[in-house]
Structure formats: structure tokens, C-alpha cells
């Protein structure tokens, strides 16, 4: 079959990865079955490991896994301290405090049952898997690449978002430097003064960088007047806003079974129509062109197909009455719904049927020491690596 696309390294279309990850997140939201969630997590992690590039942004996935673990822990702790008292096997008993009625009559502490802890862990796991899905998408393709393939009417809003996204990691770096600088001035200790000392320069630095970036973008033609009339421009912007809002309401209506029907399909359709109108109007006025747009070819179709298979699997399983939300009271060992599991398993196809991403950092064989700092570790570790090994070898004598 399409052997050539396997051989030539290229980035997969970002839309394909985001579709795949979005469907994964959808599946995760539909179930608390730990077997399905575990399978999904394994599939997502395997694809990331096989198909992520060696660029700096490709290293968010392990951080997301740690974040997910933290989410589970927090969810369980909250359940233990504040949660509903589900009767069942008591693991241990915390001293109970009943808050008065005006505080909502919440009870704190009391007997902690195995059932409540397991239920909380299921829900935490579901959230962790959703986080992992989105982290997978951002590891597999850079946020900027996704932005580039957006229709031009969304592009300008998208750039604002991407600037905001880069601000966070830069703020972390700048906070570290400011803390070091405090030490150089002979200030140590904690308290309010530390916060003002660190926060103000970090904020000022972020503002300055934003202004510098804005100046650079402006000087490079960002937001040039197109040939279209101002009316069309404003019309497109208005339609975009309206469409996004309607689409948001519509999706909410679809997910929440108790919402009135009009908030579901009709609102979503209205939103999509408005967005399409905005695209048409905006596309006409835009004079942007695109450099080497990512193609949508066989691997992209495979990815999209596997994404849909995951969704179809879980929906079919749900219709057939499979246990997507296993009971915790009484506590039962969850069974594996075969249709859903098969769908999720299809989601692993992109790990084999998509092209490898280009090698980025290792193209140039001789970076100097501090450059290596920002270079990622090669994956898998046994892969031929031109970039990192000498310093590693030295560091572990």
C-alpha cells in the first residue's frame, strides 16, 4: 500500500492528531470503567512514544501523566475528607465533624468506605485519561502547527492564544532568574515581600516580551489590511463569535441529558452554520497565503478512521447495555465491554500506519553544551543519537 508515506518522514496533519485525541477524550468521558480507561491510556501512551518528535514541545506527555496521578490522589483525598458517606466496607474512621445547617450541613470526616474510595479513584482516573489525551495531541504536534492549519478567519485569534500559551513556560524561567537575582541582592526568606519582589518583575518581563513580540509581528506584516471592506471584516468577526457561542451551548446540550432539546442539536447546528459563514466571509477578505501546508493523505485518513472507531465502539457498547460505569455499590469487579475495547484497540493504528516525524534537534550534529540543555532526550534511548550522549556519559562517571 502507500509505502512511500511510511518511508518519508513528515509531520502528520495536526488536525488528524487533534481529532484522534479529541475522540480519545470523548471515549474517556463516557466511561469510568478502569479496564477501558487503562486500555485507552495504554493506547494513547504507545502512540505518543512511537510517533512524537524530538522537539522541546514533545515532552509534555510525561508531565501530564504526573499531573494525572496528582488529580487521582486529590480526588481520593477529597472523597475521604469531604465525600458522601457511601455505606459498605469501612476501611478506617476519621473523627467526624458535622457543619451546621447554614454551612450546607456538610459532614467532614466519619467512616471511610472502600466503595467511596474506589468510586473516587474511578472518577479521578477518567479525568487523568482526558488530560493524557490532550497532552498526547500537544506532544504529537506543536500548537503552532495546529494554528497554521486553521482557517485564516480564526488565525488571528489563534495567534493570541499561542502567545498566551508560550507566556507560561517563559514565566517559569523568568521566575527562577528573579529568585536567583534576589539572592544576589542578599535577600532571602519568605513572606509577602518575596511575592512582590518576584511577581512584579516576572509580570513586567512578561508584558515587555508581549510588547516586543507584538512589535515584531506587526513589523512583519501581521494583521495587514486585506482588500475587503471593513463591513465584511466586522461581519466575519461577529459571525465567528456567535458561532463559537452557539457551538459551545450546543455541545453542552448534547452532553447534558437533562438539557432542553433546543439547546442540543439545533444550537450546535446554528453555531456550525454561523462558523461556516464566517469562514466564507473571512476567507474572501484574507490575503494570507500558506507555506507548505500539511497534506491530508492516507495516514491522516487512517488516523481519522481509528479515532471514529474508538467513538463508535463506545457508543455501540453503551447502546448494547454494556457496563461503562461499573457499580461501586455493591463493589464489583468491572467487566470488559468487548465492543468498546475493540474500538479503543483500533485507536493504536496510527502508531504503525503514520509516517515518523522528521528528526529536528539531531539534524545538526554539534550543538554546544547549553544548547543541549533544551534538547530533548532521544527516544527510544537506544535510537542513534547524535546530540546528547557525550554529556550524559560525563555526568555519570
Amino acid at each position: 500500500m502507500n509505502r512511500r508515506s511510511r518511508v518519508v518522514r513528515r509531520f502528520l496533519h495536526p488536525g488528524a492528531w487533534w481529532l484522534w485525541a479529541g475522540c480519545g477524550a470523548f471515549v474517556a468521558l463516557r466511561t469510568t470503567n478502569p479496564l477501558l480507561l487503562g486500555l485507552l491510556l495504554a493506547v494513547v501512551a504507545y502512540v505518543v512514544v512511537c510517533r512524537r518528535s524530538d522537539a522541546p514541545w514533545a515532552h509534555t506527555f510525561s508531565a501530564a501523566l504526573r499531573l494525572g496521578a496528582l488529580v487521582i490522589v486529590i480526588r481520593v483525598v477529597f472523597q475521604v475528607v469531604f465525600g458522601n458517606r457511601i455505606p459498605g466496607t469501612t476501611l478506617f474512621t476519621l473523627p467526624a465533624v458535622d457543619l451546621p445547617d447554614w454551612a450546607g450541613g456538610v459532614s467532614v470526616g466519619g467512616p471511610v468506605t472502600l466503595e467511596s474510595v474506589v468510586g473516587a479513584a474511578y472518577q479521578g482516573l477518567r479525568l487523568a485519561v482526558v488530560i493524557a489525551c490532550f497532552a498526547a495531541a500537544s506532544s504529537l504536534c506543536s500548537p503552532y502547527r495546529l494554528l497554521r492549519s486553521l482557517p485564516s478567519v480564526l488565525y488571528e485569534a489563534g495567534v493570541a492564544v499561542s502567545v498566551a500559551l508560550t507566556a507560561a513556560p517563559q514565566a517559569v524561567v523568568s521566575a527562577r532568574r528573579v529568585r536567583e537575582a534576589r539572592r544576589l541582592r542578599g535577600r532571602s526568606g519568605r513572606g509577602l515581600r518575596t511575592w512582590t519582589d518576584v511577581a512584579l518583575p516576572v509580570l513586567e518581563g512578561a508584558l515587555e516580551r508581549s510588547v516586543a513580540l507584538a512589535a515584531s509581528m506587526d513589523a512583519r506584516g501581521y494583521g495587514r489590511r486585506g482588500s475587503a471592506a471593513p463591513m465584511a471584516r466586522r461581519g466575519a468577526a461577529g459571525l465567528t463569535m456567535l458561532g463559537l457561542m452557539a457551538a459551545a451551548v450546543g455541545s453542552y446540550g448534547l452532553l447534558d441529558a437533562s438539557a432542553p432539546f433546543v439547546l442540543g442539536v439545533p444550537a450546535l447546528s446554528l453555531g456550525l452554520l454561523a462558523l461556516a459563514g464566517a469562514l466564507l466571509l473571512g476567507g474572501r477578505r484574507s490575503q494570507r497565503s500558506r507555506y507548505r501546508p500539511d497534506p491530508w493523505a492516507f495516514p491522516e485518513w487512517v488516523t481519522a478512521f481509528s479515532a471514529l472507531a474508538m467513538v463508535v465502539g463506545i457508543v455501540v457498547a453503551g447502546r448494547a447495555g454494556a457496563v461503562l460505569e461499573p457499580s461501586v455499590q455493591p463493589l464489583e469487579w468491572p467487566s470488559l465491554p468487548w465492543a468498546a475495547a475493540a474500538g479503543i484497540a483500533v485507536g493504536v493504528l496510527p502508531a504503525w500506519l503514520t509516517p515518523l516525524p522528521p528528526m529536528l534537534a539531531t539534524l545538526d550534529a554539534g550543538p554546544t553544551a547549553p544548547e543541549r540543555r533544551s534538547l530533548p532526550k532521544p527516544w527510544p534511548p537506544a535510537a542513534p543519537s547524535l546530540s546528547v550522549s557525550p554529556s550524559r556519559a560525563e555526568a555519570a562517571p
Binding site: 522537539a55 515584531s216 501581521y222 507555506y291 545538526d364
Partner: protein
């Protein structure tokens, strides 16, 4: 091509205009160099070319700036993107995308260039600037020189007829700076692009310039400033040779030419070397003055030091010591480990292996207050030391932090960068003035060991000269000074000992004269002119000449 017509500009809330009645013209195809003392308004002038001043700064601009007949009052910067490319001081701050190739294409996407044309231009620019090996590299992994070349390329793909660069080499090591300048001259000579470039280290560019614009500063302490230069906020324009005769800032070869009365003045080492035969003849058998010998007590020492960040080792097995009363220059490529060594000496991080000894203790275990009394470090971006909203508040906070009598920091500041308004905001100061302020804050604590990381970045010759005087005074008071720098002229002026780092290892450690003179990269201009004799600075040469030879 670029035309300033009676342009005056005043920043918001400023009393004095930054530019005053500036009129000049740069014809097509010229390389025009903008020089002037620290804080004189060079950046303001450059950013006015495409209207970033006043559109991104506020303030009031009168008169007309026009490029290729388009006045900036009617044309916003984005509408000028097809004819003017502007590259700022910090290239990384202006990057929008994350891969080299995308960054190069960004401006063309905005201009709506046809895709096949875009593809071709990106290839052309990759070749022109020698970036083809880097095309798919993430921008964050590039070195300083590579980033600067990508920044130039990212405006060049639009096919501009004017290129404006603000200190393109100020953060680069000598080799990377050569790389960028070579690319620039190629653009001027092969493509006929008009280039307007500001640069503090004139020795690197003045020989390539067709025209020099001097922006006058109101710096009372400018050394060797002959009368005839422009007043504050005004400019004078002319051929390089004439302009350098009156410029308040000149590179060492020109200073040497002035000192021995050569006319026309030499602009490059090559010019000077051709004339210097006689001069060298006068100095045969004369030994250059000796620098301070290593004698004092050891202030800090590292033994078998490995250090770095995370899994990266930036320093490997470094044995280094600094004694009181000596000035050590720390040299090496961008990223050779200079900054890591300095931060180890003040204990910003624990060593990975080996040990650091700062006056008897391991610095990373000491309290901050204790460290600043033993060693003071001015980091590379001196601005991170500043928290307060006026110069005065910074000074009094610093007096307070170090337990000094009121006014001590202010006096130190006046010695470095005189005449800063007490109510000025530190972020409104020029790069050089800001650095002066952070330097004053660190020096005010009177530490016996002073560490300076790239202190001359953004400083003009006068400010560098004052810095050199201060360093000499500090050494005379018995302090040890370590200067990590790319600036070979500063090394030539102040250093007793030079240490060269490469890939985290010390590759040379010895008297500054021996280390720098024979290195093609690290030798100062005077050493290149006077080779094979080991003279480093104009002052040394002039002092050794017989009285009749001096001008």
C-alpha cells in the same frame, strides 16, 4: 531610500526630546552605521524608520520619516513590512513560530506571497545566510549567532529593500559576530539592500560602512571626545573617516590613529597594519608594561568542579582560583560554561561533583546575606536585579539591604553612569544605564570578590572605559574581580589573567597578554596591529612611544 525630515521625538513624560530636528537621508544600497553614546537614542532612531516609534512607544513625533516615499504617519509598520525589515536587539523575543523554516515563511504568509514563490525564497534565504542545515530545527535549540541569522532571514524573505538592525552582535561571541556581519556585508554587496545598523562595538563594523550617523548624547564624562560631535538628541551624517574624527565613540584602531596622528584615519586592522611599520620600529626592544602578578590571598577556589542543570553538565572538572587584587577575564564561546562557573562561585546551585570554596565555606550552603558580603555577582541580564520603580528607590533599597549609609549606592552609580534622573523608571533606562545601576547595587555591598557576567553588553566606549577604571580601582583596593566577557577589547584593557573555557573545560589559564595575543579570535585590535609584539591597548602603546611620535 530612508529619509528623516526635521524629525523630533519626545517619549511620554520625558522633558527633553530624544531626537531633535533630525534630518538626513540614506541613499539606496548603502550600509549606514548609527553610532552614539549609551542612551543617546540610537534605538529610537532605528525604530522610527518603520514607525514602531511612536506606534509602540507612545510619545510625540513631529516631522516626517519616510521609506521609499512612504511616510510612516500614513503607513503602519505592517503596511511597510514588504519594504522594511526590522531586527531587534534580542532576536528570540521576536520569534513567532517554533521551527526555523516556518519563521522564515511567516512574513511572506502575512504578505500573501504565492506558495511556489514562498518556497523558492525560503530556499534562497537559507542558502544566503548559511542556514540550510538548520531548516527544521526548533528555534529554542539554536545558538545566539544562529538565532540572530534566523531573525535576519525572517525579515529578508519578504524581499525588503531596507534592513534595520539594532545591535545585531551585542550578545554574540566574536566568532558568531563575524558570522552575522559576514552575512550582512554579503546582503549589501550582492543584493544592494540598504542597511541601517546600530552597533556599540564599532571595531566590528565600521570598516564596512559607507556612511556614519552619529547620534549625540549628553554624556559629560565621554572620554577623548573631540569637539565637533553633535549635541544631545541631534545627529550628524557623513563619510566614516570624517565622522570618526569627531565621534565621541571610536574603535581602538581609530583611537590609535588619532593618538599618533595618522590621516586619513585607519578604519580596519588591515589599514592600520599597513601604516604601523614605523610605529613598531619605535617600540623594538621596549617591553609592554607588566600587569599585576598573582600574589594576594585566595578568595575563592573550585576543585574538580562538575556543575550544570538537570542531566546536563556545563562544567567539567574545573580547577579555578581567584586571588585578591587580580582581575581575571573568563572567555569562551556562547555557552562554554562561563555563567555556570560564576553562579557556582556565589552558590546559586549546588555542584554536581567537586567543591567550591568561598572564603572558607561552600557558598550554596550560606545564607544570601552572608554570600553578598563575600562575593557579588552582576548577572548577564542585569535588569533582573531591579525591582523598584525609580532609580532612587533602587538605590535606597540597596543601601538598606547591604546596611550602608544612605547615598552610598547613588555615589557608586554616579561613578559608573553619571546623571541618571532619580525618578526615572529602571525599565525606561537604556541597556547600558540599566547595567550601570545593577552594577552599582552589587558593588555597593563592598564584597571582596566581584563577579561580572558580560558587563559591557550595550555599553559605549566611554562607559566601558569607566568600567575598566572602576575594575582597576577595585583590584587596587585588594578585591578580586572576575569578568566573563566576549569583549576582547575590555579584556585587553583590564585583565591580568585570562581563562578560556571550551565545552565546560578550562583550555587556557595564564597571564592575559600571553593568552589573548596569539589567538585569532580573542586578540584585540591593537595586538593585531602591533603583532608580533604583545601590545594590548592604545594607552600602553602611546605611553611607550618617544614623545616626538605622539600626535
Amino acid at each position: 531610500m530612508i529619509r528623516f525630515d526635521r524629525v523630533s521625538f519626545t517619549y511620554p513624560d520625558a522633558l527633553v526630546p530624544a531626537l531633535h530636528e533630525v534630518s538626513f537621508e540614506v541613499p539606496e544600497g548603502e550600509l549606514c552605521l548609527v553610532i552614539g553614546p549609551t542612551g543617546s537614542g540610537k534605538s529610537t532612531l532605528l525604530r522610527a524608520v518603520n514607525g514602531l516609534v511612536p506606534r509602540f512607544t507612545g510619545g510625540r513625533l513631529t516631522g516626517t520619516v519616510s521609506v521609499d516615499g512612504r511616510p510612516t504617519e500614513a503607513w503602519a509598520p505592517r503596511e511597510l513590512a514588504d519594504i522594511v525589515g526590522v531586527v531587534g536587539q534580542d532576536p528570540a523575543a521576536g520569534f513567532v513560530t517554533d521551527l526555523v523554516e516556518d519563521e522564515l515563511a511567516y512574513v511572506m504568509e502575512n504578505l500573501g506571497v504565492d506558495p511556489s514563490m514562498m518556497r523558492r525564497r525560503v530556499e534562497d534565504v537559507l542558502d544566503l545566510l548559511g542556514l540550510h542545515d538548520l531548516r527544521q530545527r526548533p528555534l529554542a535549540t539554536l545558538s545566539g549567532g544562529q538565532q540572530q541569522r534566523v531573525a535576519i532571514g525572517s525579515v529578508l524573505t519578504a524581499g525588503p529593500r531596507v534592513l534595520v538592525l539594532d545591535e545585531p552582535t551585542s550578545a554574540l561571541d566574536p566568532a558568531a559576530a563575524e558570522e552575522v556581519l559576514a552575512a550582512l556585508t554579503r546582503l549589501v554587496h550582492d543584493l544592494g539592500i540598504t542597511v541601517l545598523v546600530a552597533e556599540h562595538r564599532l571595531e566590528r563594523v565600521v570598516q564596512y560602512a559607507d556612511r556614519v550617523v552619529i547620534v549625540g548624547g549628553d554624556d559629560p564624562a565621554a572620554v577623548d571626545a573631540p569637539s565637533g560631535g553633535p549635541a544631545a538628541g541631534r545627529v550628524s551624517v557623513g563619510a566614516p573617516v570624517d565622522q570618526l574624527a569627531v565621534s565621541p565613540v571610536v574603535p581602538p584602531v581609530v583611537a590609535l590613529g588619532r593618538a599618533v596622528g595618522w590621516t586619513p584615519l585607519p578604519l580596519s586592522v588591515r589599514d592600520a597594519r599597513r601604516r604601523a611599520g614605523e610605529l613598531r620600529g619605535h617600540l623594538v626592544g621596549v617591553d609592554p608594561p607588566a600587569r599585576r602578578a598573582r600574589s594576594g590571598e585566595v578568595l575563592a577556589r573550585t576543585t574538580g568542579l562538575f556543575a550544570g542543570y538537570g542531566s546536563l553538565t556545563a562544567l567539567r572538572d574545573v580547577d579555578f582560583e581567584i586571588r585578591s587584587g587580580e582581575v581575571v577575564a573568563l572567555m569562551g564561546r556562547n555557552g562554554a560554561g562561563k555563567s555556570t562557573l560564576l553562579s557556582q562561585l556565589v552558590g546559586l546551585a549546588a555542584p554536581q561533583r567537586g567543591s567550591v570554596d568561598l572564603a572558607g565555606s561552600a557558598p550554596h550552603t550560606l545564607a544570601a546575606r552572608e554570600v553578598v558580603r563575600r562575593a557579588g555577582l552582576v548577572p548577564q541580564d542585569g535588569a533582573v536585579l531591579l525591582y523598584h520603580d525609580t532609580v532612587e528607590a533602587e538605590c535606597s533599597a540597596s543601601d538598606h539591604d547591604a546596611g550602608l549609609p544612605a547615598g552610598a549606592t547613588r555615589r557608586m552609580l554616579d561613578r559608573l553612569v553619571p546623571g541618571l534622573a532619580p525618578d526615572a523608571h529602571p525599565r525606561d533606562l537604556s541597556e547600558g544605564q540599566r547595567l550601570g545601576l545593577s552594577l552599582a547595587i552589587v558593588l555597593s555591598a563592598e564584597p571582596p570578590l566581584v563577579l561580572l557576567d558580560e558587563p559591557t553588553r550595550g555599553l559605549d566606549y566611554a562607559a566601558k572605559h569607566r568600567l575598566a577604571e572602576i575594575i582597576a580601582e577595585l583590584a587596587a583596593e585588594g578585591r578580586g574581580v572576575v569578568v566573563a566577557t566576549h569583549d576582547v577589547e575590555v579584556v585587553a584593557e583590564v585583565a591580568d589573567r585570562a581563562v578560556v573555557l571550551a565545552e565546560g573545560e578550562i583550555v587556557a589559564d595564564g597571564p592575559a597578554r600571553d593568552v589573548v595575543v596569539h589567538s585569532p579570535v580573542f586578540a584585540p585590535q591593537v595586538a593585531k596591529v602591533m603583532a608580533p609584539e604583545a601590545w594590548l591597548t592604545v594607552a600602553e602603546v602611546v605611553a611607550a612611544l618617544p614623545a616626538g611620535v605622539r600626535a
